[in-house]
Each structure stands twice: as C-alpha cells, then as structure tokens.
Amino acid sequence: MSNQHSIVEIWVYLSGSPLFALFITLAAYQVGLTIYKTSKQNPLANPVAIAILLVACTIQIIEMPYSTYFEGAQFIHFLLGSATVSLAIPIYRGLHSLKGRSIPLVFSLATGGLISIASAVGIATLLGADSSITGAMYPKSVTAPIAMGIAERIGVSPTLTAIFAVSTGILGAILAPFVLNALGIKAWWQRGFAIGVGAHGIGTSRAFSIHPEAGTYASLAMGLNGVISAVAVPVIYHLFNK
C-alpha cells in the first residue's frame, strides 16, 4: 500500500517537472535514429516522424495534456532560435559556390519559392481546406525554425506550419530522386539546389548523404530560401488575405 502510494507520488512529481517531457522527447528521437540506421537510412523511416508519432502516442496514452508536455519540452523548442542563427555557417560556406552561378540560382530560388506557395495554397483551397490550413501552407517550404517564426508573424498556427514543413521535408526527400530523374537533371549542383528549395532541412541532409556537392547547394538553397521567405511570405500573405 505505502509502496504504491510512493510510486504515485514519484509520478506526480515527475510529470510536474520538465524532466519527463525532456526524457520522452530525447528517448523517442533516439529510437527514431536507431530505426533509421538499422533500416539503412531508408527515407521512409524518418527519425523525426517516428519521434513525433511516439511522443504523441505516449502523451495520449498517459493522458498528459499537450500544454503540460510543452511546458517541459519548451527547453528543446527554445533552441530552434539558436539553430536558425547557426544556419549562417552553411550559408557562409556555400556563398563561394554562388559565384558564376548566381543568375540561375537566384531565379531558380525565386521560381521555386513562388511555385511552392502558389501550388500548396492553391491545391488546398481548391479541395476545400479551411483558412487556418491554407494559411499554414504559406511558409511550409521554409526550414521549420524560420517557418514557425513566419507563422507567428502572420498569425497562423506555428504547430500546423511545423507539421506541414516537416511533412514537406520528408516527402521531398522521398520524391526528389524520382522527379529529378524523370526530368533528366544530372548536374549535382542543380539537383541539390532544387532539393534545398523544395525540401529544406530534411531534404538537405538527404542530399548530403548522396553527394557532397548536392548537399552544399541544398543547404545554401535552404538558408537563402529561409531568409528571403522571412521577408517575402508575410507580404504575399497579406496581399491575398486582407
């Protein structure tokens, strides 16, 4: 009896402190990484998607409200800002590869960025999605930390934006090889840059695992897309949502 009582007390203590949320987040990510490695880096076994699924199921099963979970996990969430700043390093390293190719790259980025917004918002609107969904589609091709910052500025749900951004990254990492092969795109820098524009962080890490040149161009595209979108997306959003 007293033994059971103390377990309850420990549980109450743990679920009230950030420790539990931090633990399940990191543990779920570790499980995701292990599955990703044992599946020989199969893009379908995306570690982030696995971790999100595990944590979401866990807090549903133990009936922990999301707000309680987030109170603990916000220490991880806070680091998104720092991670955004640290994107400066891959951008800086990629800057020299811009030389001589700046015109194709700038136009590729502008076209890709606009098509990404127009197609996502257009298709979702056509198929009758409500405005909170279509709003969250605007920044979805931007790397998640910046996308969430944009979402907060334009007043759409950062959570929905994060979900769409992560799904976009996973889908892009899976579909990019098929799309690029079908179009006969052979140059690594073109392949990498297109993946960086369309599938940001997750696509970039996939590009790095295929070819270093593709990876460099992918991270350059991701970084530039993030910075330009942070300026452009709020303007485009307010143009169509008055």
């Binding site: 700043v85 400066a88 194709p104 136009f107 098509i115 998640a144 992560v166 942070a230």
Partner: protein, 115 residues
C-alpha cells in the same frame, strides 16, 4: 564548444533586440542569422568552436521540431477533416517546386554557357 554557443547566443540576442526595436516584421533569429553571415564575411572564416556548435545543430535540427510538432494531437480532428486537401497540396507542391527549381537552374545555366 562554449565559445561557439556564446557567439550564437550573442547574435541571437542582437537579432531579437533589432527585431524588437527596429524591424518587427522579421523574426529575431533570422536577423541574427544575417548578421552572423555578414560577420563571417568580414572575418573571412568560421572559427572551429562555432563550426562545431553549428554542425551539431544542423545534424540534429529535426530533434528541435518535435515539441511543436507533437501539437499535432490538438489538431487531429481538423487534419482528418481536411486530409485529402492537405496530402494533395503537400505532395503536389513538393513535386512542382523541385521540378520548377531544377528546370529553371538548368535552363539558365545552359544559356550562360552558350553566350
């Protein structure tokens, strides 16, 4: 590693400060990113400690989205109701974006080679 973190947090704070005072349309971390790129261009190099922290972040960037993305549990009914629209929009947009970016890059680089 600590020195690397100090630099990142310094630029993040500078970005937040500028965002609060001068440029409220841009998120603070994005301003911090731009300032850090400019600083690296002026300094002409990334010091080892900064590179170590940045590589750590980019390697495990995915971990940092988890707390926000778990918020999916709050939106499950809404996502289910709009599932077809969301999936079509995400798949269609990814394919079109990657195809368009790659085609434009190839088209313009061929032109510059011929000229």
């Amino acid at each position: 590693m600590i020195f690397g973190l100090v630099q990142i947090l310094l630029f993040q704070s500078l970005g937040e400060l500028i965002s609060q005072l001068l440029l409220p349309t841009l998120p603070g971390p994005v301003i911090g990113l731009v300032l850090l790129v400019l600083w690296l261009v002026i300094r002409k190099g990334v010091n080892a400690e900064l590179a170590m922290v940045a590589d750590g972040f980019s390697q495990h960037l995915g971990l940092l989205f988890i707390p926000a993305a778990v918020g999916v549990v709050l939106f499950l009914p809404q996502l289910k109701a709009n599932a077809v629209a969301i999936i079509s929009a995400l798949v269609g947009s990814v394919v079109l974006t990657i195809a368009a970016s790659a085609l434009v890059a190839r088209l313009l680089s061929k032109k510059t080679v011929h000229e």
